[in-house]
Every structure is written in structure tokens, then in C-alpha cells.
Symmetry: D2
Subunit: 388 residues, 4 copies
Amino acid sequence: MTFRTGRHFLQIPGPTNVPDRVLRAMSAPTLDHRGPEFADLARRVLDALKPVFGTSGPVVVYPSSGTGAWEAALVNTLSPGDRVLCFETGHFASLWREMAQSLGLEVEFVPGDWRHGASPEAAAERLDADIAHRIKAVCVVHNETSTGVTSRVPEIRAALDAADHPALLLVDTVSSLGSLEYRHDAWGVDVTVTGSQKGLMLPPGLGFNAVSEKALDASRAARLPRSFWDWTPVIDANEAGFFPYTPATNLLYGLDEALRMLAEEGLEQVWARHARHAAATRAAVRGWGLDVLCADEREYSGSLTAVLLPDGRDADAVRKIVLERFDMSLGTGLGRLAGKVFRIGHLGHFNDLTLAGTLAGVQMGLELAGHSVGPDGLAAALDHLRTN
Amino acid sequence: MTFRTGRHFLQIPGPTNVPDRVLRAMSAPTLDHRGPEFADLARRVLDALKPVFGTSGPVVVYPSSGTGAWEAALVNTLSPGDRVLCFETGHFASLWREMAQSLGLEVEFVPGDWRHGASPEAAAERLDADIAHRIKAVCVVHNETSTGVTSRVPEIRAALDAADHPALLLVDTVSSLGSLEYRHDAWGVDVTVTGSQKGLMLPPGLGFNAVSEKALDASRAARLPRSFWDWTPVIDANEAGFFPYTPATNLLYGLDEALRMLAEEGLEQVWARHARHAAATRAAVRGWGLDVLCADEREYSGSLTAVLLPDGRDADAVRKIVLERFDMSLGTGLGRLAGKVFRIGHLGHFNDLTLAGTLAGVQMGLELAGHSVGPDGLAAALDHLRTN
Amino acid sequence: MTFRTGRHFLQIPGPTNVPDRVLRAMSAPTLDHRGPEFADLARRVLDALKPVFGTSGPVVVYPSSGTGAWEAALVNTLSPGDRVLCFETGHFASLWREMAQSLGLEVEFVPGDWRHGASPEAAAERLDADIAHRIKAVCVVHNETSTGVTSRVPEIRAALDAADHPALLLVDTVSSLGSLEYRHDAWGVDVTVTGSQKGLMLPPGLGFNAVSEKALDASRAARLPRSFWDWTPVIDANEAGFFPYTPATNLLYGLDEALRMLAEEGLEQVWARHARHAAATRAAVRGWGLDVLCADEREYSGSLTAVLLPDGRDADAVRKIVLERFDMSLGTGLGRLAGKVFRIGHLGHFNDLTLAGTLAGVQMGLELAGHSVGPDGLAAALDHLRTN
Amino acid sequence: MTFRTGRHFLQIPGPTNVPDRVLRAMSAPTLDHRGPEFADLARRVLDALKPVFGTSGPVVVYPSSGTGAWEAALVNTLSPGDRVLCFETGHFASLWREMAQSLGLEVEFVPGDWRHGASPEAAAERLDADIAHRIKAVCVVHNETSTGVTSRVPEIRAALDAADHPALLLVDTVSSLGSLEYRHDAWGVDVTVTGSQKGLMLPPGLGFNAVSEKALDASRAARLPRSFWDWTPVIDANEAGFFPYTPATNLLYGLDEALRMLAEEGLEQVWARHARHAAATRAAVRGWGLDVLCADEREYSGSLTAVLLPDGRDADAVRKIVLERFDMSLGTGLGRLAGKVFRIGHLGHFNDLTLAGTLAGVQMGLELAGHSVGPDGLAAALDHLRTN
């Protein structure tokens, strides 16, 4: 790679560009995690998290990845051999299925084409059929980071309600929380799983579980072995502003600052900003004569757009050119989408001109890779930005 | 608390004072964890970790606390109902025992008085008696952070060897690695567990497992459910410089810098520095007419010193005065030592004058709390520093 | 202003976007400016500055602005009542003239139209006419930050040589050094004046004088009062790596890092990069149907482009929209250009996609301000970037 | 030097240990110095400076060292050949005298022994004798950084008043402002000169002039050539939150934070803290059987203590040992005090335990250099800290 100057464009769908404010906050000296100053910080952060999840209940914070937070959701609520209903929405849903199986759960996996979200109709059908209530949890990836498709969680909830089914609703919001509209309490979610490195604008290293009363009840009977992930000692220690083991102090400093930024902007405005940037990005994709992977406009993702190339064209060749010539990272195609799509992240700490630079880089990269896309894509995106 | 000026003295036995160099390194922009620049970083860090553990085998890095790394050690090597041999060396050994029980293991717990390390004699006795080899692992806390006692790991190893016992040897080095002499390979340890926030001079947020061949073999048969903690996918992905889930990028930046610092100083010199500071601290404690909690001089810890107050005196009262008057955090007495001891951390990024300031603060705090300790403690410590 | 998210686009022609590496370097603890570690730093920085100026002679570093470095150039070389030849190339040349007058010098000011550089022909004429050698110094602004016009310094030197005129040649490179080709020794410059906040990629706060032998000789006879700016004690103290008064330590840390970055990229490559971005910017301006202020293509600036709006159109209205809607700072019209031009900085730590974002912001801002410029400007710029 | 670990002890009398908060604030991205956000910052900082100087008048901030601010005080108020009254209080007073001479002023220099402050009696005598009012300014160094002696400025003012003398009173507070009691308005000072790197807790790089109405009047008639240092354009531009040339943006960020810290602690408390630490330091010096250089207890400095060694003993040998063995920088003897004294800075961002570490280092260094000082010095200092 040639020498790079200027700022790298990190336009993968997460980790996202961490704000300078957050990086500076994280560089404060580490403090005593058993002292009064830490307790103030912890309580402030734990309170400020609630509105971001849309919950009045507890949010458990782990020093972990988002994947760790998935494991926490499962081991706290389920017992060996329990059946869970999952939906093949893409790569991350598939990984979650594998995790469930590794932990000794039985997975009912609704097949999918990786261009649609979790099907509320299929959910309804499976739940209705489960008269014995063998399904103990329904697992949905709210925003599939591998596809840029956003599942309609309230409709999955409605399916549960219509079937009068007692299964828990577990939702992965790794690439949606703090970017897309999300309401843990109002949507009747039992465990919301997320990580720090996307809409929360932090480096990776924190995992989260927002937990409903019903999930807490379930955790009392759940028999998957658990210790590190156990909610109860965390929630108990959090009362006083502490943790049962050493928390990731400096990431919590960053979280404190990031939550302040989200509050300053306002969640509704944050969601609107992401939706607007996503719409501009899709305008660009269409202007280039290419397809957005997401096949249902009700499920367009506000945080990333997966661009599908014509058959026989290598998406990774575009990514390579864009990285080498323009110092921008784009997301690769994952799993069965390898080589077929690239993904543009437009989430987190982001603005119009960074999107413009991003789309300019994609457009030039496509041309250089031999796609005669012309300038209309970027022009259409700018029209959208300018007039909305 | 009154307004604080100057630098806080963080003299708990970890988290330790993170070097400015490390904090600055951590504030670099987050990058693409699937890109070539990250792969270079990951390989460099994974290589540089090996000599610090004294191993030529793999070191698995988790986005987690040290406690998480304990769980990893257990779930990768053991099966439900397996028996493990633990030693009641203090609070953290007791927590590890609880974790093992929570995960479905059966713990044989050698009782202790919290003033000695794991007894090689007791180990020999239990192992010799275990003709059926029901004990699958021996768990030792190398340096008990709650007591300032360092167990003699090579003698435990010798007991295993003498008994020709196949049990794995799992060692917690959370408060010793990068501070005290430690040799994973040479000492025949199977899993070494540690965290980032002590001798590695980072904020908390990373957990580590150094893994022997024998442990890897054991992991193939182990049946405790595991997914997040599973070594295999991590070790496989690490080959190419990647991780199976999003790693804690910015902590890895810091680790890269911290490992550079350890290499610059030289591990032998790092160990000698800690030993020298510990000896100076004990000289101070004796100069004050107080007792070091550790009852066996072969087991004095180089990274912290627990100071035992006379019966009826409240150690937390001293800590409170020291925090409020002198802006220094000392370690509290944990578990059964609550109120009886305070702990002085002298590990990590540390030097003679910071130790002098630390001991001056303890001395003044003791006086203010009504202990007529006089000036001889600090004077003895300075004598030690000056003449060694 | 609405809430801002993402990174501000600081596209004024300086201060420029300071690299994160430089900001982090500046945040290291301040050290003893009389100690050995500082001396190492100072010598390293003073050496590394020389190639950037293209000199083998001394470079004097002041804790000051670039304006202070102008004053240093004058008071070290001239005496009360001395005549200096200046050229009305724009706002900063006019300020330099005023400074010379304030300090008691007599200024011969060659008038100009603010669209051309210093005229070598006019220089030749004035110098030829000055048979008595009353002109003691010729002052040229290499790159007029107010107009985006680069004077042809070698041709001014040629005029001095042709006239066999002994006047000193003083050159302001505030917005060109580290961005445009510049050669202090090869071009026969006597004092090169610059500041830290443009091509050197630092925050403002340092001023520089590169000094020829001839200028040093002149300083021995010069009689303008001087103390703070006096070269001699600085150059003398610099031998040992020190300064006669407290230097701006942390800015020097940043300078150390910035010079490392310039060396990594390579000066020739730095110059080529700036020229390429300038050409792309001019392509955009033409694509919008607007005029570049600079009227002579030999004098196009590589570091900034001033865009001239049609008569009656307010350039500051465009700037205001761009700042409020797109969080980008553009340069205002200065002096007689107020309201008539805006200036786009494309210098320092910069890259293709940031330029693309910048030009996208200008294009949208022009449209929103009622200029029907259409999308061709940005498209032309991207064509240039993609194919060069 | 051997490898250094832990934090360097920067105990020269400035630059001082910059708080982490300030370093972090300084690492924010540079912004447009002509934009609205900068104007807010500038106005906030300029307002917050006033109480620190004890003035309701303007404070002019230069991108410069404190020495530059001296030059500003002289060139704004005086004319060639003007007489100024200076006092030989130490090295910095001597440098100021040299500067005045270099700038074309005539200096009446009251001799001194470098162990006392400016003599109010001598001042009275000289002023009374100056019936023709040829003395245009009286220059006093409030706190002589080379000696640790604080001149009694109010008594100098009283001498001026008693003589009914119209001379301006110019005071250097480089090592006192923000540390020692100081009141520009109440004490009738005309120009207060300071720098950023001591009590203001910033890195070096900013110079300051607080300016009285009378000084402003004098500036209208003063004829020393000036341009960069001219108060008027700065004060005029400051009205709107701007500067006539590019200000040192990132140091201003730091100043903003440092002023916030001074306000949080409270100036009276800041002064008391410095006085207390100075008293403890003197107790140590006496406990070691050594002499404080300052010979008049009314003039003890709160910000530094110069320690006088017995005849024939080399103070720099002590400093060298302390630096190499204990990684602490102490101030060297300057000018005629070279080798005779070392100076302990106890100013700025500082606290009891850092002082304890500092004095422990000095005590050990003295012993190692062959001074049998024993432990009583540090013990006495700690007694003072503990009981006050």
C-alpha cells in the first residue's frame, strides 16, 4: 500500500469511527473500581443506558464482545436441550444458531435467502404449531450486519402474542442500537443484546444485555451452567455502583461520553440521521445501476447498505482497490455472500460530507474495477442530502 | 472529599497506574479488524506475549476480565462433574472455587489460613491419595491478590510429577504476570490465566489463557458447554492475524505498547524491580511495628503487600483517611480479611519515588488513624531503596 | 447551529487538520527543557527541519505565530529607515508591509491586482533602478493564503542576480512549506518565514526562520531593536539542544512526529499530492462554471484555491450555509476580497476522499445558496482523482 | 540512564506537571480561528483569566514564552532611551535587565545578593531621588524562579505612591501567578507579565500581559517599534473573540481547562496549598541541616525552594544522581548560583504524596552524593503535612 495521508475512512458497518471526544475520554487514568468515584461513574452510565435501549429495567454491561453478550442471553435464560426458534437472516443469525447448538440447545432454524428479515408469517406459523410450548425462546437479529436487512421486531412480537406463546424474545441489536429505532420495553423484548462498537460509537470491548422482568424470572430456573455471564451478581453489585469482577474502566469512560453525545443529539434525531444517510446511499446504488441486497423496502437498514454486484463480478476486487487507492475500508461479503456483495457502513459518528467522501470512493473504486457506473450515483445521493 | 490536585495515587493491587504511553496508544482511531493493518498488529502482539508468559505455545486473548479467563480455562478443559483440586489461599481462590462449582465441577478444597500459599505438601498428599485419578485439574492462584502471598508453583508441579498424576495444572497469574518471575513452559503449567490490568499495565478489559499442548488435547474431549470461550476458533483465526469475533481493538493497541515497554525494560529487570519495591515496603511495615500478612518469607509477594493491623483496629478507617486526605487508593480487605488488612499495590508502571510517596501516605494515614507508628517505617524503606 | 455529528471538515487554508498521531504526540507529559532528553528531542527536530526547508543552514524555531516569524526576519536583518521592496500580492503581503512600516522601515510597494504573484519583471525594474542599493531586502509571499496564488520565487531571485543587487531575499512560506516545492538554499533565499499550522500539520504556536549565511552576516550590523527575536542566542543555545528561553515543549513533540510523517511520505510525494488535489479542485471550479481567482496558470497554488463568485453574489453566504448545513469551515475573503471569494484549503494531512467530501460540500452549498452549478464540478474532480 | 519506569517527577520550578485533563483538552482537533466556536472559546478564556490576575482590565495572550511577554510589556509602554528601575533579585531579573538594554532602554539596576527580593527601601530611595521623573517604569520580578524569593510587590507600590512617582509598575509573575497570592488591580500594577507553564499548569507556549488603564494610556505615546507585540490590535480583535494573527488554538483549549481547574479548587485554596507545601519543604531542608537560599522569611516563595549547599559541595552532582537514580528533574543553579544551589519546584498540579516522593528523592540523592543528611528532613516535612 502506498503511504497514507489524511484520515482513514472506516466505512465498514462497525467498528465505526470513534469520536475524538470518546477517545480522549478513554485516555483518562484508570481508577479504583471499588472507590466512590467509580461508583458515581457506573451509576451514571447504567442510568443513561436505559433510554438508549428504551427500557426502564436493568442493563447488564460485560467486558466482552457482542458475541459474548449473545452467550449471556442464552445461558441466563435457557436449560440444556431447550428449543429456540431462529431465522436464517444472514451470517450473524447463522453464527448465533451455531452458538446455541454448541451450548446444548436445540435450534429450529427458519430458512431464508439472506435478502429478507425474520419472517413474521413464518414465526406465527411455527409458534402456532408449537402447542406444547417446546420453543423457549425466539432469537431475532434486528439488523443483519451481513446483509443490511432490518427485521420487523414488533411484528415478531405480535406473532408471539397472537399465538399466546410464552417463549422469550431475544433480539440482537449489535448494529442497530443507537442507530435505528429500537424500543426494548414497548416492543416486548426480553433480552436485548448489543456491543459497544457500532451505534454506541465506542471501540469494541463491551457487551450488553437489557433484561425484562420475564427474562429475570426465567433466569432463576435456567440450568445452562453459568458464572461469568450470570446476570444476578452483576445486577446486585450494580445497585451500589460496582461490579462482581473488574470492569473495563476506560471503556466505561468512553461509554459515559458517548451516551452524553447521543443525549445531546437526541435519539429521534440520531435515528432520522441514519435513515437519511441510508436513503442517500441507496440513491447512489441505484444511480450506479446496481442492486441493494435488501429485497424488501420495509426492511432497508439505516446503518449499512450491502451492494450486490452482477453475477461474475468480484466484490472483493472493488474493496481492495478502494482500500489501496483511497484508504477506505468497506465491509466484505460474509458467508455465502463472499465476493458477491460489499457493505457500506453509514452509522455511528458520521455526517453528510463523510458520506459524500465515502460514496465518491465507492464510485471511483467501481469505475477502476471496471464497472462503468458513471457519476449519477453520487449525484443522486447529494441531491438527496441537499434537499432533505 | 476536598478538591483534589495533582495525580491520584492508585496503589491498589490493580488496576495499576497505566503508563501515559499506553493511554495515548489506546486513543488511536479504531481500525478494521478484518483488514491487513489489524492482522499485522494482532500477530505482533500475539508473538510478543509469548515471552511474557514464558511459553512457545499459543496465548488466547479475550475481550473479558481475568475472571472470564478463569472460566475459559475451566470450560475448555473439563467436563461436567469433573473433580478439581483447589487451595484456600484467599479471596480469589475462593471465588475460583465458587465458579468451578457453578459450572458443575466438583471441588476438593484444601483449607488454608489466608496467610500461606498453596501447600505443596497438601498437594502431594491429595494427589498421592487420588489413585483413581479422579482429580482432573489442580488450580493454583500464583499470587493471591487478597493476601500478598505467592504460591510456589514449581513445587506444586513437582508434587504432580512425583505422584505421576495426569491432572492439568491451571494457574491464575492475574496479579503476577509481568511482575513476578513466571515460566509457563518451564514450570509445566497447562493453562495460565491472567488479565490486562496489573503487570501488563493496561486498563481492565482483556483476559488471557496461555495453553499447553496437553491442555489443547484435553480441550478436544472436554464437554462443558462452550462457545465464546472456545480456544480452537480463536487459535485458528489467530494464525492469519484475526479473531472469530470483534476483538477489543484499542486495548490491543495499548497491549502492543505495554509489551514494548516490558521488552525495553527486560523481564528479569521487571521482576527485580518488583522484588526490590516489595522488600522496601516490608521494611516500612516492620518499621511501623506492624505485620505483613504473608507468614512465610518464601512466599512474599513482589506485587503487593497486605498489612495486618492489630486486633480491634479498623483497616478501612486507615484507607478512608488516606483516600480523603492524601488522594491515594489502597486495597481493602476482602472476604474474611475485611477490616483487618489493607493492601498496598507496588506493581506495574511504578518507581522509587512513587513508592516513597505511597509509603509516606500510608505512614501519615496510620498516624492520623491513631496508630503511633512514627517515622521509622518510611526511613527503613528509603534505606532499602537507596542502598539496593 | 444544529447538533454536529461526525468529524468537522476544517477546509480553511490553515490551520489544517492536525493528524491524530501529532495530537497524541503533543499530549505527552511536559519535560525538563534543560535536561538530556529534551536536548535529544531538540537536536532531532532541528535536523529534521532542514530538508523540509531545503537548507543546510540553521532553522530558528520560535514559540510564536507565523506573524512573529515575519517580525523576526525583519528585526534581525534590517535597521531603522531601511528600504524594503514588497509586492501587493494580497492580504498577507499587505499585512507584512504594515508590519515593516510599524517597525520603522520604508516600504516600496509594487501594486498588484490580488490575482497574480510578485512580478519578476517589476522586481527587475525596481532593482535595476536602485543603483544606490537603497533597497536592503526584497519581501515575497511565496503562497498568498488570501488569493491562492504562488509567486515564482526563483524568478525573483534571478531578477536580483541579474541586477547584481545585494538586497536580501525574505520569503513567507506560511502556507506553502511542507506542501509546495520550496528550496531555501537552491533558490538563494536569505530568510524563509513560516508557521506550524499548515503544511507542517501542527496546531498554531510555532514560527520559523531558515537563515542564510548572508542573512546572519546582515544580522550583525542590523540595528532594529531586538531581544526575543534575536537569532544569535537561539542558534548558539541550539548547538547543545537548548533554547535561551522556555520552548513550547509539547508543540515540539508534535513537530517531531509531523516531521517523521513528512519524511515517511517523502517531500516530492507531498508536493505531488498537493498539486494533484489542487488540479482536481480547479477542475471542480470550472465544472461549476466559476472562476479560480488566480489568473496565471503558472501561479496556481497547490495548497488552496480561491473561488471567485460572479459580481453581486455573496461568498460569505455560501460559507455560512456550508458551515451550518455541512459542518465544514471554508476560508473567507480577506481585505478587498471580502464577500467576493471563498477559499478551499486542500493542504496538510489530507486525502482524496476528504477532498471529495469537501468539494461535495461546496457544490451542495453553492446550490443551496442559489448558484445552479449542477453536479459536473464534483464529477470532473473525481475524474481527475481517478485517472491521475 | 537506566530504563525508566513509572512517572517522571518533573520537580523543576516550571514547566510543571501538566494535568492529564489539560493534556487531553489540548489534543482536541484544531478549529477555525475565525469561526463562531473559536470566538466562544476565546471570550470564555479571556474572561476566566481576569480573576486569576486579580484584574477587571484586559489580559493580552500571546503565542510566545514568558520572555516574549516581558518584551511586550516594555515595547508597549516605553520609548527609546527611557529609564527603567530594575532590581538584581536573581537570574531572571538580570535577563530582564539585559532585554531592556537590548531594546534601547537605560536601566538603573539596584544591586542585590540573590537572597532577597526587590528592596522597598531601595525603591523608595531611588524614586524619591528621581525628582525629574526620568524613571518611566519600575520592573519587579514577583517570584524569582532562580532563587525562590518572593518580592513584596505591595511595598514597592507603596514606595511609588509615597514618592508620588508616575512611573509604571511592571511585574513578572511567571512563577507566581496561579500559585501565590497576586492582585493586579488591588496592588496597583500596570503590566503583569506571565507565561503558561507554571501555576497555569499548561505546557510552555503562551505569554500574558495584564494591562492597566494607565499602561494603555502610556502605550499610545510609547515609541519603541512594535508590531507583533502591539496590545491594541489584540485587545480590539478580542472584543469579538478573535486575534489579529493565528492564536495557539490547542494551548487555548488547555488554558480553558486549566482555568476551570483553578476555579474548581478556588484561588485562595490554591495559594494556601502552595504555601503549605513550601513550608513542608523548608522543614525538610532544615531537617537536613541545609540552608534555604531565601534569607528573609517574609519573602519565602510558595512555588519553589532553592537549597543552598555548603561551600565546596556541587549541587549539580546531587541533581545528576537524583535524575539518574530516581528519575526526578530538579532545577539547576542559574547564573552566579550555578553549582551552589538546586531548586525544588512545588507548584502547579501537585499534592502531598508527590511532595513526599519529591523530598524522599532529594533526601536519598543527598545521601548518595555524600551529604549525611539523615531521615529527619523528610520526617519533619511529613509532620508538617500531617498536622496542617
